[in-house]
């Protein structure tokens, strides 16, 4: 019987491939991580060649190695080079790079050395050190899957090596009376019958899970307050809304999949349709410019989309933004306050803010902020009423550096903005804003929100009369606008007054635009010498969002309707993910905001079918997921600062407290119910639920037991079938015979073969020895014989079954 198993056992003890194959994979991954992080192609090619040669030779059950002196000389040279580079170089990063190269060279040398157990340990150690050093400087998202694979391979290699080392130790053990260690095959027969590949794979999976859990915990708890120390890489330039809108350079449009923002609407806030980053008021010669004053006294008002009921009260949106993006606050409306959780945000006028480059280097590549905006079309005099509860309840706790929105305004509002607020404020109040006085004087201003006061309207008119806000619409464009809205226009009573209902006119223009022009990013036939809007409307008749928004805005302004161009992002609602929305580079958008008669800035998006692109391929879907995951990786890697860690701890503690309280409450309810049941015989709701839960649990457990038993039975049958190459039912006669013997109190002893057992049974029970020998022979033939069915197997099996039946009926009479 054991003869077939003898040779594999001997082979197993000497096979190197079982260890070296995963070890080579581990080494390859480590060097690949280094090469990807540093971009070193030479090392990658050398490592690939070395590993390839080793693998090819290993397939032939041989080993390739150089003379030990050559390898030693190479190691010495590499060491000298490392020392020289370390001494000559002062920079820490250069030293780290030298050390990494040294580790790679050492591994390459070891690959061409005659390897013993110590060399395997050296290989694994240097590989792990190389990967650890790579994690010191590289923080790219691709490193994580590579690390997971590396850990799995490393775990498998270490396990295989532990087994090999144990076998080697047993093989080398020599007792005092033995002139030499026992022969390997003898030890092997007593130590291993076959290589436990499946078991090792299971263990590797378990180890990877445990190691991953520990690693994730360490990642969460890692101290991040110490600063990057110059290790943080400035993210590369990323696409998004530009600083300017220019229709004469169409080739600058870039649509990337890179995730730029993660947006989380605040409590009670609807998901915004648009995130406005900048508004433009002045259009001349195909270019849009921001006016000298983007926000007037009514600039605090905005509305996400037409037709929606205007929510009252302040709203908030939480944004994680890639720091490489144009540094401004992206919010559904003009921001009145900005809370920056991380980074050195500097507020500017008009809701803009900036991030100094040095703060980007020393901090995370993401900026996390909370923007507060007022969705209601309110005047400046309402701010005091609305801001007060905001300051008390939320802002003071969350904004950190900002004591109040008024402080923000006081610090960042320009003189012109303060002057623009003058019609609504008394000189003393203006002085109060301009000085360090608190906002006490503003409390007196309690007005009706949603309506412009006369002074405000006058101020707006004055602003619009400013020649800087004029829009240079060509006569052709203005004529086309009047032609499209002819039925909606009326003669204005005075200059600057709108020619009709702004919203109706804007909607009409939008409809006509979408009918006349189509969306396209192919602008090769654009004429740079011509006005961009005119060229778009009369020549190209196709363009992207900036063309549509520009055309609509210019046409509105040609009809004396207050409108402006806004750039930012159209929020992709389909990218919503558990309350968060991922905004990518390709979601950069431009639209028009029209000022209505009731004092609102209403978004009118003239771009047709911008989102009706062809259905995304599976590759682009995966690319999108990868980019989203990359953003989360960066955020998770950097974003868990001490405050976030504290919040996480608090959240875990709260959930735990909730669970504990709920369990305590449920237990007390059940206890009270049981008391009621025993004392008064009344079944309370809690006891009823307890009974139902117990019944469900019992049913689930029973189902689990049955399913497990069935699964085990089939799994055993499958395993036996796979191993024996024949179904388990062929061996049923032996199973029955052994069960019969167990009933006769003849149990198989440890190490006893079936033949020995049946010989013992024959002697003890008086069963016919030749018949039992025939059964054992058949059993041995089926289990360890050559593959395939022996001739006449069904008849033999039937005879064996009959014999077992006879033995079961009257074994002593046989």
């Amino acid at each position: 019987m054991p003869v077939e198993a003898y040779t594999p056992a001997q082979v197993v003890t000497q096979a190197r491939g079982r260890l070296e194959r995963p070890l080579l994979g581990m080494v390859s991954l480590g060097i690949a991580a280094f090469c990807l992080a540093t971009g070193s192609l030479v090392h990658f090619v050398c490592a690939a060649l070395a590993v390839g040669v080793n693998l090819a030779v290993m397939r032939r059950q041989k080993e390739v190695y150089l003379h030990r002196s050559i390898v030693t000389a190479a190691v010495i040279v590499a060491t000298i080079q490392l020392i020289a580079e370390t001494v000559l170089s002062n920079a820490g990063e250069a030293t780290l790079l030298s050390l990494q190269r040294y580790l790679v060279v050492i591994q390459l040398c070891k690959l061409f050395q005659q390897k013993g157990n110590r060399d395997y340990v050296h290989l694994m150690t240097t590989s792990v050190l190389l990967v650890v050093s790579v994690t010191l400087e590289c923080r790219q998202a691709w490193l994580l899957p590579l690390l997971v694979a590396y850990l799995a391979l490393g775990a498998y290699s270490a396990m295989a090596f532990t087994i090999k080392r144990g076998l080697d130790a047993v093989l080398a053990r020599r007792l005092v009376t033995e002139p030499a260690p026992p022969p390997p095959q003898r030890v092997a027969w007593n130590a291993i019958h076959r290589w436990p590949r499946g078991l090792l794979l299971k263990r590797t999976a378990a180890a990877a899970l445990v190691l991953g859990a520990f690693g994730a915990t360490a990642l969460v708890l890692a101290p991040r307050a110490g600063g990057g120390g110059g290790l943080g890489a400035v993210p590369h330039a990323i696409s998004g809304p530009g600083e300017t809108v220019s229709l004469d350079s169409p080739e600058r449009l870039k649509l990337s999949n890179e995730v730029l923002l993660r947006v989380r609407p605040g409590a009670g806030s609807p998901v915004p349709a648009y995130l406005r980053g900048r508004v433009f008021d002045v259009y001349e010669r195909s270019r849009w410019h921001a006016g000298p004053r983007e926000t007037g006294p009514e600039g605090f008002t905005s509305q996400p989309a037409p037709g929606l009921p205007a929510p009252r009260g302040p709203r908030s949106v939480e944004v994680w933004m890639a720091a490489g993006l144009a540094p401004r606050a992206y919010a559904p409306a003009t921001t009145i306050a900005l809370g920056v959780a991380r980074g050195q945000a500097l507020g500017k006028s008009g809701g803009e803010w900036g991030l100094p480059p040095e703060s980007i280097q020393a901090n995370a590549p993401h900026v996390h902020y909370c923007a507060w905006f007022l969705p209601e079309p309110v005047g400046a005099y309402d701010l005091g009423r609305l801001v007060r509860p905001l300051r008390r309840e939320e802002i003071a706790a969350r904004l950190g550096r900002m004591s109040s929105p008024w402080a923000y305004l006081r610090q960042n509002a320009s003189d012109r903005e303060k002057q623009a607020m003058a019609p609504a404020l008394t000189p003393a109040q203006v002085r109060a804003i301009g000085t360090d006085e608190p906002l006490g004087p503003l409390r007196a201003f309690q007005g009706t929100p949603g309506r412009l006061s006369k002074p405000q309207a006058d101020a707006v008119a004055a602003v619009l009369a400013d020649p800087q806000y004029s829009v240079a619409a060509t006569p052709l464009v203005a004529q086309l606008a009047r032609q499209w809205c002819q039925d909606l226009l009326r003669t204005p009573a005075q200059p600057g007054e709108a020619w009709g209902d702004p919203l109706a006119v804007a909607q009409r223009l939008r409809e006509r635009l979408t009918e006349r022009c189509r969306y396209s990013t192919d602008l090769t036939d654009a004429d740079p010498a011509r006005d961009g809007v005119e060229d778009f409307l009369f020549a190209m008749k196709r363009g992207h969002c900036e063309y549509f928004a520009s055309a609509l805005t210019v046409m509105c302004r040609s009809l004396s309707i207050r409108a402006r161009l806004a750039t930012g992002f159209a929020v992709p609602l389909e990218e919503a993910r558990g309350g968060d929305i991922l905004v990518r580079g390709r979601h950069a958008h431009a639209w028009t905001e029209v000022y209505t008669n009731d004092g609102r800035w209403v978004v009118v998006d003239a771009t047709p079918g911008a989102g009706d692109a062809a259905e995304a391929s599976w590759w682009s879907q995966w690319a999108d997921r990868w980019q989203g995951w990359r953003f989360d990786w960066q955020e998770g890697l950097w974003g868990l600062d001490p405050a976030a860690q504290a919040r996480l701890r608090e959240w875990i503690y709260d959930r735990w407290s909730d669970v504990r309280a709920a369990a305590s409450e449920a237990l007390s309810a059940v206890g009270d119910g049981l008391v009621e049941l025993t004392a008064r015989g009344q079944v309370t709701r809690a006891v009823l639920w307890l009974g139902v839960a117990a019944a469900v649990l019992a049913a689930a457990v029973a189902a689990l037991i049955v399913a497990r038993a069935l699964w085990r039975r089939t799994a055993t049958a499958r395993r036996v079938h796979r191993r024996l190459g024949r179904p388990l039912r062929d061996l049923r006669f032996m199973t029955r015979l052994l069960a019969l013997l167990r009933r006769r109190r003849l149990v198989r002893r440890p190490g006893e073969t079936p033949r020995d057992l049946l010989r013992r049974a024959s002697a003890a029970l008086g069963w016919p020895a030749p018949a039992l020998t025939g059964l054992v022979d058949l059993y041995y033939r089926l289990r360890w014989g050559p593959p395939g069915d022996p001739p006449g197997l069904p008849a033999q099996l039937a005879a064996a079954e009959r014999l077992v039946d006879q033995l079961a009926r009257g074994p002593r009479s046989q």
Partner: protein, 375 residues
């Protein structure tokens, strides 16, 4: 009496494990200092390897049952093969398991190794041990060890499994043929009453199937008309008395090894071997007898011999009746020939082996000869 073994599991870091932990802690310290978040994650993974090693070792050892298959007797300085049947009662597999005896003083062991034991399965591992001392050795238990999965943590479980093995004195070889003639060729006494031997004529009987045709007595067969065969009597075995005079000053261990070697030779040649020796408990007398049982008794007595003032050679010989000695071959093994000669009775077939004669007649076991006194 060896200390009682408690069934418990101990975990400790191996030497590579200590180095590993030190290096990993250094890496963690460096990661914390530099704010390298990802490196800190790697630090967690590497620490997790230690934790996983400990958990895995503890879980594996907890559910393993071990049964030992050990011979009852064996020779000193001979490799004794021990079988271990390992049964895994747990749900998970067991990998890289070492199994060895908890060796008392004077016993050297080589562990058995089982690479894998699947859940619910068993495995037969083989270990070895060598006893450097004779006598009854109590084995208190079995030690299960594993360094799986990463060799960083060693889990040790000591399973109480008391067993006893009697170690006979080391067997050497006889240079001089003290038992020159085998018992089968030296039948000087009356033929025995048992047939089937090669000695004198015993009788005739009918030919049976499988009988050697050369045994057929053709003359009688021709006269009787049926095949009959000759039967020869089985030779009565010779008797060997081994008298041991191991007084405290004598090279006692060598004498014991010589006596054991001589007894073993004699039993192998069919002798009936008796033993007389004086030890701490007085004179021990084992009447001559054949067979494996008597051989075991004689060698057991030699194995458990304890020197002491139990009586001298004269007192030992007095207990032996002269007639018994006269019918047997007597080998007196004594450390001091001068004192022994005076006490020897005048019987034929008596051989006195003193230290010098023992050196000429006996080749000691090389491993035993290099050792000091018995531990």
């Amino acid at each position: 009496m060896p200390a009682r073994v408690k069934d418990r599991i101990r975990l400790h870091l191996t030497r590579p494990g200590w180095v590993y932990v030190a290096v990993v802690l250094l890496l963690g310290f460096a990661a914390g200092r530099n704010g390298a978040v990802l490196m800190f994650g790697m630090f967690g993974c590497l620490i997790g390897a230690v934790a996983y090693s400990a958990i895995s070792a503890w879980r594996m050892l907890r559910k393993v049952e071990v049964h030992r298959e050990l011979p009852e007797r064996d020779w000193q300085y001979r490799t004794i093969h021990v079988g271990y049947y390992l049964h895994n009662r747990g749900r998970g597999s067991v990998l890289g398991l070492e199994v060895a005896e908890i060796a008392p003083a004077g016993v050297e062991t080589a562990a058995g190794y089982g690479v894998s034991i699947p859940a619910g399965g068993g495995f037969r591992a083989g270990g070895r041990l060598v006893a450097r001392r004779r006598g009854r050795i109590e084995l208190p238990g079995i030690e299960l060890r594993t360094r799986f999965p990463f060799g960083l943590v060693c889990g040790v479980r000591r399973v109480p499994a008391a067993a006893t093995i009697v170690i006979w004195p080391a067997r050497g070889s006889l240079r001089r043929p003290l038992l020159a003639r085998g018992a089968a060729q030296t039948s000087s006494a009356a033929p025995s009453r048992a047939s089937g031997g090669q000695d004198e004529f015993f009788g005739l009987r009918e030919y049976r199937r499988d009988d050697n045709p050369r045994w057929i007595h053709w003359k009688r067969s021709a006269s009787s008309g049926t095949l009959v065969v000759r039967e020869l009597a089985r030779a009565r075995p010779e008797v060997l008395w081994i008298v041991l005079d191991a007084h405290p000053g004598a090279p006692g261990e060598t004498m014991l090894r010589f006596a054991a070697t001589l007894a073993d030779h004699a039993f192998a040649r069919g002798y009936r071997v008796g033993l007389a020796m004086a030890g701490r408990g007085g004179v021990k007398l084992l009447a001559p007898g054949p067979g494996r049982g008597r051989r075991a008794e004689v060698l057991d007595a030699l194995a458990q011999y304890e020197a002491g003032a139990g009586g001298g050679l004269g007192q030992t010989l007095e207990l032996l009746r002269r007639r018994r000695l006269s019918e047997a071959q007597v080998v007196v093994i004594s450390g001091e020939a001068s004192s022994a000669r005076g006490a020897l009775p005048r019987v034929t077939g008596l051989t006195l082996i003193d230290a010098d004669a023992m050196g000429r007649a006996f080749q000691d076991d090389p491993a035993a000869a290099g050792e000091g006194p018995c531990p």
